[in-house]
């Protein structure tokens, strides 16, 4: 029992997080920045922050993850990190030659009150920023919000720094995909183009964090949204933002800065949320849904039809990020499963009420908490077990200790591959999720069936 120290009795905790269901803002900002083409994310703080984020992203994606750091020292913490950042900007443009340096702050640089735009201005005045190159920034103090907030802030920075309106609309829409995998971003782009719609998607980590073996190490891989495309986002006809928390701020910023109207939707995970996404695309694009997409939908529905008995009344425990959990919970309810425990580490007023609304008709008590942790989740499970758990790799301890089937979903997944290549969004992603859920449930049934009731055909 790895987590034998988890007590069954639940006491309210006020000063303490145990086994977090979240991490800090900067890693989300770094991930988002990797979705800009020819961009080097830069961590304005101590060396450790950058090393930890790179290590975690590397473990999750099995890809090289490049980022610079201001390498704060004692002196920088007292006198400010301006010299470090100016030097870093100089080093990065001279040595690595990116188009963009995307600076995010840390708890340290925020607390000593670093003013990034002012420092960037100084670097520019000193001639450290070559023509046609950019330094952008997002404030991402680690003691506010979570990795999701950091992602949202850096995505918004792309709008703040680049989007511009020439007054002449371009026949394209903006897609803000949310804090999802490179595979998901790729799938979202595919669906949009399948409908015959031109789009700009940002950030876009496909072909950055799921790239092929080429025999080469490229500092800057092929993927990522270009600066040019980001600039044009200000003249797009509309914006579709997927995931309120991760994509909402950028979409609203684009609306107020360049008057590009936005639709903020749930992440297209599951049937209903994907329907809503496709339908919005159809309306905004003024197109009809092609047969190919209808076929995909039909196939997903076919799996649900074929296997619906196995979903019925299965209790599920979920840990993850708000945008994902909202769509996932809705999906599970729609296939007759009961999401009974839902924990996110990210604080959010609307989250709990939204989940309550989604699970209104679940004939079982539903516990939901935002700003919770896995210790609490484990205590719930100890008090009443579930049939299935879905969440990031850290759930594997609980899965093992309590002997509960487990589907890896979310961030980070440190011990499996697949998430960067196979999406969970859209109809095809939905099919993959269904397959994973069924595999977990049916493998367990096969394992636990008595010999006399073990069946060839389920």
């Amino acid at each position: 029992m790895l987590l034998r120290h988890t007590t069954k009795e639940i006491k309210e905790r006020k000063a303490l997080t145990v086994n977090p269901a979240k991490t800090c803002q900067p890693i989300g900002a770094m991930y988002a920045a990797l979705g800009i083409h020819n961009c080097l994310p830069h961590s304005h703080g101590s060396q450790g922050c950058c090393a930890y984020h790179r290590s975690t992203l590397t473990r999750h994606y099995k890809e090289p993850v490049m980022a610079g750091t201001s390498s704060f020292t004692e002196g920088a913490s007292v006198f400010g990190g301006q010299a470090n950042l100016v030097q870093a900007i100089d080093t990065i443009f001279t040595v690595y030659d990116p188009d963009v340096i995307a600076v995010h702050t840390t708890c340290l640089s925020e607390t000593i009150g670093e003013d990034i735009p002012q420092i960037a201005k100084k670097a520019d005045a000193d001639g450290k920023i070559p023509r046609g190159k950019f330094v952008i920034h997002a404030n991402t103090p680690s003691y506010v919000g979570t990795h999701v907030t950091g992602f949202a802030n850096m995505t918004k920075a792309m709008v703040d720094y680049f989007a511009e309106s020439n007054g002449r609309k371009i026949d394209q829409i903006n897609i803000i995909p949310g804090y999802v995998e490179p595979s998901d971003m790729e799938e979202i782009k595919r669906i949009v183009s399948e409908l015959g719609i031109k789009s700009v998607m940002f950030p876009d980590t496909s072909n950055v964090l799921n790239r092929p073996q080429t025999g080469r190490f490229d500092m800057f891989p092929k993927g990522g949204v270009t600066v040019e495309a980001l600039k044009s986002a200000g003249d797009s006809r509309a914006t579709i933002a997927l995931g309120r928390l991760a994509s909402g701020p950028a979409a609203r910023a684009l609306d107020s800065k360049c008057k590009v109207s936005c639709e903020i939707l749930d992440l297209p995970i599951g049937l209903a949320a994907t329907d809503a996404f496709v339908d919005t695309l159809r309306k905004i694009g003024g197109v009809s849904v092609p047969e190919s997409i209808n076929t995909e939908r039909g196939r997903m529905l076919d799996i649900i039809t074929d296997m619906h008995q196995y979903f019925y009344g299965k209790k599920v425990g979920l840990v993850g990020d708000p945008d994902q959990l909202i769509s996932l919970a809705e999906f599970l309810v729609s296939i007759d499963m009961w999401p009974v425990y839902i924990v996110t580490g990210t604080q959010g007023k609307k989250f709990e009420s939204r989940i309550k609304e989604i699970t209104r008709d679940v004939p079982h008590e539903v516990k939901v908490v935002s700003g919770g942790d896995m210790f609490l989740f484990h205590q719930w499970v100890k008090n009443e077990p579930v049939d299935l758990m879905m969440g990031n790799t850290y759930l594997k301890y609980i899965s093992r200790d309590e002997d509960i089937p487990f589907v890896r979903f979310g961030f980070p997944i440190l011990d499996r591959v697949g998430h960067s290549y196979f999406p969970t969004v859209g109809y095809r992603g939905g099919m993959r999720l269904l397959e994973k859920i069924l595999d977990a449930l049916l493998d367990r049934k096969d394992r636990d069936s008595a010999e006399e009731s073990f069946e060839l055909v389920l």
Binding site: L2, L3, R4, H5, R13, K14, A15, L16, T17, V18, N19, P20, K22, T23, L40, G45, S46, Q47, G48, A51, Y52, H53, R54, S55, T58, R59, K62, E63, P64, V65, M66, G68, S71, F72, T73, A76, S77, N84, L85, Q87, D90, T91, I92, T94, V95, D97, C107, L108, T111, P141, S142, Y143, Q213, G215, R216, F217, D218, M219, G345, Y397
Partner: protein
């Protein structure tokens, strides 16, 4: 890109050596160039990796959530008993704590945790932010220690105070405060503490078994599979054996000064260093127990007889292949160079994040002509060296692995993510097998690098 690469070499040229081109001149142990994609980490990271294997202690990270989240059970340090170290505890500081201070929160968190888990001691890690807002960690720890009757030790590991090495120092200082309080009356004259082994993949159990066979009692594991009570008795051991250059040397020095405990530098990697380490220890105890050398020779002989024939099988295929090494501390690199030699392989690149001048001098002496020696390197440099030297296998840590793989080069994690014990005689065999499995993998036949030939 090629011009870029040459520029960074210019900036860092005195941190890169090519043996045979000019004499030894290495400007290491300096701060990283801001903006360079350094592979280094921070003070907190250093403290955390050293202390975390102490399994019956509470490890509370005082700071925003990230520092605790990223270090949650990352090291694979195994415990034979309690596993409190595998949970992640954080005060999860929020904006209002930054403004009003986090002492009260820390006090409450500590009190609650000690009540719930009854740990033998508590380590409280300071992070960057704590250093800035000026929480008095020392005072809170003292108060809780008095109230709860267990040692509560502040670890002064603010991230910005240097690199990992300073973190090792902070960890050593914290551990040292535990020492001197335990009952040492039952400790025999043939006894030692194991310093600088973190029981990755169960390695310390292998080493302890060797010491058992030599007739030496291990008092404290520092820190793999570590226990607070053992640390409290550690001053009663006759000898400290220290592996891992940076991590625990400072503790050995403090113990020597305060308790007179002598220490030996050892390494359990590779046949040569493993044997020599055991002999060194045997020589130390020979006056107390003249039979110990005989027993040690017997041990080494038995192990080598088992090992050699199996090693030869790997050697046959690996001979002549080229290896690159980039590790955290340089001390490990010495053993690796020798271990590769035993496999008939050539080390063409060797470097570390935090080596000292002395370390690099020693590396310079034991490596072949033409070998590149590098301090605080970065992905761009490493990848260009790997290509230049046409390396077959790269030994490194988590951030280096995908770089090797992208280039189509084999890899062996000799850091937190090792899955097989690499220490001891059996470890040499595992190492050979792991190197063989990667170097000889059929996958390299398909990658473009090899195809191009």
């Amino acid at each position: 890109m090629s011009t870029g690469a040459s520029v960074i070499f210019q900036e860092r040229k005195d941190q890169i050596l090519r043996k045979g081109q000019g004499g030894f001149d290495m400007n290491c142990n300096r701060e990283s160039l801001a903006g360079a994609v350094s592979q280094r980490a921070c003070v907190f990271c250093g403290s955390r990796v050293v202390l975390y294997p102490i399994a019956d202690a509470l490890h509370l990270v005082h700071g925003p959530i990230g520092c605790a989240a990223y270090t949650w059970d990352i090291r694979g340090a195994l415990s034979s008993g309690p596993a409190l170290h595998r949970l992640s505890f954080s005060t999860d500081l929020q904006e209002k704590d930054i403004i009003f201070g986090g002492e009260e929160k820390l006090y409450r968190a500590l009190t609650e945790l000690i009540d719930r888990h009854s740990p033998k001691a508590a380590f409280v890690y300071s992070t960057c932010i704590v250093g800035i807002i000026g929480d008095d960690l020392e005072a809170v720890c003292r108060k809780v220690a008095a109230e709860k009757g267990i040692p509560v030790l502040p670890v002064q590991s603010e991230g910005f105070k240097g690199n990992k090495r300073e973190g090792y120092g902070a960890a050593c200082k914290a551990m040292f405060r535990l020492m001197g309080s335990g009952d040492i009356s039952s400790i025999p004259p043939l006894s030692l503490n194991i310093l600088g082994d973190f029981n990755l993949a169960g390695e310390i159990w292998i080493i302890r078994e060797y010491f058992d066979r030599m007739g030496i009692q291990t008092v404290a594991n520092i820190t793999g599979d570590g226990r607070v009570e053992d640390l409290q008795r550690a001053h009663g051991a006759a000898l400290n054996v220290v592996q891992c250059s940076g991590a625990t040397m400072e503790l050995a020095k403090m113990m020597k000064e305060s308790f007179g405990t002598p220490f030996l530098r050892v390494s359990y990697f590779g046949v040569e260093d493993m044997s020599e380490s055991l002999y060194q220890i045997a020589r130390f105890f020979e006056t107390k127990d003249p039979g110990i050398m005989e027993r040690t020779k017997e041990l080494v002989k038995t192990e080598l007889t088992k090992l050699y024939p199996r090693l030869q099988e790997f050697r046959r295929e690996l001979a002549g292949k080229k290896a690159a090494i980039y590790v955290g501390g340089a001390f490990k690199a010495f053993s690796l160079v020798k271990a590769f030699r035993l496999l008939g392989m050539q080390v063409v690149l060797v470097g570390s994040q935090t080596g000292t001048e002395e370390d690099y001098k020693q590396l310079y002496e034991i490596t072949d002509e033409g070998t590149i020696i590098v301090d605080d390197s970065n992905p761009l440099e490493l990848s260009s060296f790997l290509k230049e030297k046409d390396v077959d296998v790269f030994v490194g840590g988590v951030k280096e692995r995908p770089i090797a793989y992208k280039l189509g080069v084999g890899f062996c994690d000799h850091n937190h993510e090792r899955k097989q014990p690499l220490e001891g005689f059996v470890g040499m065999l595992n190492f050979a097998r792991e190197i063989h499995s990667s170097v000889m993998s059929p996958v390299w036949r398909f990658v473009p690098r090899r195809k191009a030939r």
